[in-house]
């Protein structure tokens, strides 16, 4: 694997059993993601965006082909090894935030570090830093139910970045947010991308998100239709 690559995908095929046959969600997908890229998977519903993100994140397994993430070939890996990859190297941001409802903001952000076994002092410091990044220090004791949608997604971002992963996977991160909050959370992610060189991979069909992407992979019917480098993203410099 190239040192600069954090994701390498070769001839990836993903099929799902449907009735007596199967549905092919991804066909012969071959691509790489390099460090620091701000990449979006774009396409209509059912084009395979989420499936591709799930496979890269080790949440789902390929039917054919090879996928290597952070130097780990995912083929043949058991669930413990995949869990280790997610725990140590990948941050996730979900469309519906997926915050743990009984935990406070602080505890939600702290949770990935607890799983990593980080000691208390380092943990508190990392959580505070992450919450400062997303400007939620005044909400540390709040629970998700007490937050707005934008605040919830900022907590989710803090949770994803708190362990400083090399790759953050975000599935439709702005789908449940209004325009202002969408620009806010995208602005946060752009800053993190710049400051920490964290690579981001999005699945989206939100024009606002596309305005921040430096690379757009167009998927149609499970195939890469176009792989576009964006030299001047619409919102990136201005926001």
């Amino acid at each position: 694997m190239d040192d600069n690559h954090i994701v390498e995908i070769r001839e990836l095929v993903k099929r799902y059993p449907v009735g007596g046959g199967h549905f092919t969600a991804l066909r012969d997908v071959t691509t790489d993601v390099v460090v620091g890229e701000f990449t979006g998977l774009v396409g209509p519903s059912g084009s395979g965006k989420t499936t591709l993100l799930n496979i890269i994140g080790g949440l789902d397994a390929p039917s054919e082909g090879s996928v290597t993430v952070l130097d780990m070939p995912l083929g043949g890996k058991n669930h413990k090894e995949l869990a280790h990859l997610r725990r140590e190297g990948i941050g996730f941001i979900f469309q519906t935030f997926n915050l743990l409802p009984v935990y406070t903001v602080f505890e939600n952000v702290e949770f990935p570090l607890l799983l990593m076994g980080m000691n208390g002092e380092d943990r508190r410091s990392a959580v505070n830093q992450a919450l400062e990044w997303v400007d939620l220090m005044d909400k540390v004791k709040s629970r998700p139910a007490q937050l707005s949608g934008g605040e919830c997604q900022r907590v989710a971002i803090a949770r994803a970045i708190v362990k400083k992963p090399k790759l953050i996977i975000a599935d439709e991160p702005t789908a449940n947010l209004d325009a202002e909050n969408s620009h806010n959370v995208m602005g946060l992610m752009v800053n993190l991308n710049r400051e920490l060189s964290t690579s981001f991979m999005f699945a989206t069909h939100d024009e606002k998100v596309m305005g921040y992407l430096t690379r757009i992979i167009h998927l149609i019917d499970g195939r890469i239709d176009e792989d576009e480098q964006v030299s001047k993203p619409k919102y990136r410099e201005g926001k």
């Binding site: 799930n54 994140g57 949440l59 789902d60 669930h79 413990k80 869990a83 280790h84 990859l85 997610r86 725990r87 140590e88 996730f92 979900f94 519906t96 997926n98 743990l100 409802p101 009984v102 935990y103 505890e107 949770f111 990935p112 607890l114 799983l115 990593m116 949770r159």
Partner: protein, 391 residues
């Protein structure tokens, strides 16, 4: 340790949902202990009543006497052997004479067991002294409340009693009920007609004879008494314990049903709770928690449920059980109608062993029923759990 902290945090953080589950489990705890205690209390009371009203310190049986075969009564009578007579004279035993008979209250015929007992005895707790106080011309008779109820007899009623004497001749006379005793032991109540021993001996022409002799509680039961058979307390209680054993098998089925119902309730609420949290489980897996830890987390939550349920059960169930153990609960109907020994107030007997055993059992069940759905859902692919889909 981390899992326990997380489990406790999840439990307390879930608020109403947790306390609803805990309340249901605590109800199961208390109900099972409550029922077990009642059964234990019922058994202990039944044994105590049997000892006090019937068995006392054991008995000496005439060699022909077989309580299960009424036809042996024709021959099962005689003068107690010498050593037993000495105990009789010392007031450490009392003779009982039995015969079969019939009574005819208001023209209805009812078969009865006619029993002669010394009116001044103090071996068993039957109010036989009233038999000695009777001054009328009829045969004084003492019956139990259950018998009175079933035969529709009242104190002062006079009816015909018929019996067969030592020569096989049928005889009859008027009998008068001098008292109706309230006694919880149906063995000395239902179908039993208690007469003064001397009177029955005269009626049967069996002077000085008895069918069996009841020894006083604490009196030494003589072993070498010839043909008469000494029957120690354990003989009677063994018979009783056999019945208890049979009944306790039934009770075990009842407990199993109770536990199964409690377990199903807990299982339902746990399944509902865990399946409602599929997305949360998917999130935990996405964040890197391995399946076994997810299962352990949810199982630990179940185990903690049972601990909280035990504490809650102790808070509300403790005073309730204490009240039941000390004051009892009055029966809404006459216990003499049941045909089994029942106290007028049901008193629960709650031992430490029973409470701890029940606690442990319910805790294990709660933990197991938490483990099963957690294991099932942890087997889902993270993507399926995240979207809330299941197989």
């Amino acid at each position: 340790m981390l899992l326990l902290k997380l489990a406790l945090k999840n439990l307390l953080g879930a608020g109403t949902r947790t306390w609803l589950n805990v309340a249901v489990t605590s109800f199961s705890f208390v109900l099972i202990v409550f029922m077990s205690g009642f059964y234990q209390g019922f058994l202990e009371y039944a044994q105590q009543v049997t000892l006090e009203t019937e068995v006392a310190g054991g008995a000496y049986w005439h060699p022909a006497y077989d309580p299960d075969d009424p036809f042996t009564l024709d021959d099962a009578h005689g003068i107690p052997p010498g050593p037993v007579s000495e105990q009789l004279a010392a007031g450490k035993a009392m003779p009982i004479l039995l015969t079969q008979g019939s009574i005819y209250p208001e023209g209805r015929m009812m078969p009865v067991m006619v029993k002669g007992i010394p009116p001044n005895q103090n071996i068993v707790t039957l109010p036989t002294e009233v038999l000695g106080e009777y001054t009328g011309s009829a045969i004084p008779v003492l019956i139990g409340a259950g018998m009175a109820h079933s035969a529709q007899l009242e104190e002062g009623d006079v009816f015909t009693v018929r019996w067969r004497d030592a020569h096989g001749t049928y005889d009859a006379n008027e009998a008068e009920i001098v008292s109706i005793m309230r006694v919880e032991n149906p063995g000395v109540d239902m179908g039993q007609l208690w007469l003064p021993l001397g009177k029955l001996q005269d009626m049967l022409e069996m002077p000085g004879e008895a069918t069996y002799v009841v020894a006083a509680s604490g009196a030494e039961l003589l072993a070498d008494i010839g043909e008469w058979q000494p029957k120690p307390v354990m003989f009677f209680m063994q018979e009783y314990l056999d019945v208890i054993e049979m009944k306790s098998s039934n009770a075990k089925i009842l407990y199993a049903v109770l536990l199964a119902m409690a377990a199903m309730g807990i299982f339902n609420s746990q399944v509902l709770s865990i399946f409602r949290r599929r997305k949360e489980i998917g999130t935990l897996m996405a964040l890197g928690m391995i399946r076994s830890r997810v299962v352990a987390l949810f199982t630990a939550e179940g185990g903690m449920h049972s601990i909280l349920a035990f504490i809650l059960g102790a808070i509300w169930g403790g005073p309730l059980l204490f009240f039941v153990a000390t004051k009892g609960i009055p029966l809404p109907y006459d216990p003499t109608e049941f045909g089994v020994i029942m106290a007028p107030r049901l008193i629960g007997v709650y031992g430490i062993g029973m409470i701890l055993g029940t606690t442990l059992l319910v805790a294990v069940i709660v933990t197991v029923v938490s483990y099963i759905p957690a294991r099932k859902i942890a087997k889902l692919k993270p993507t399926e759990a995240l979207t809330g889909r299941s197989n």
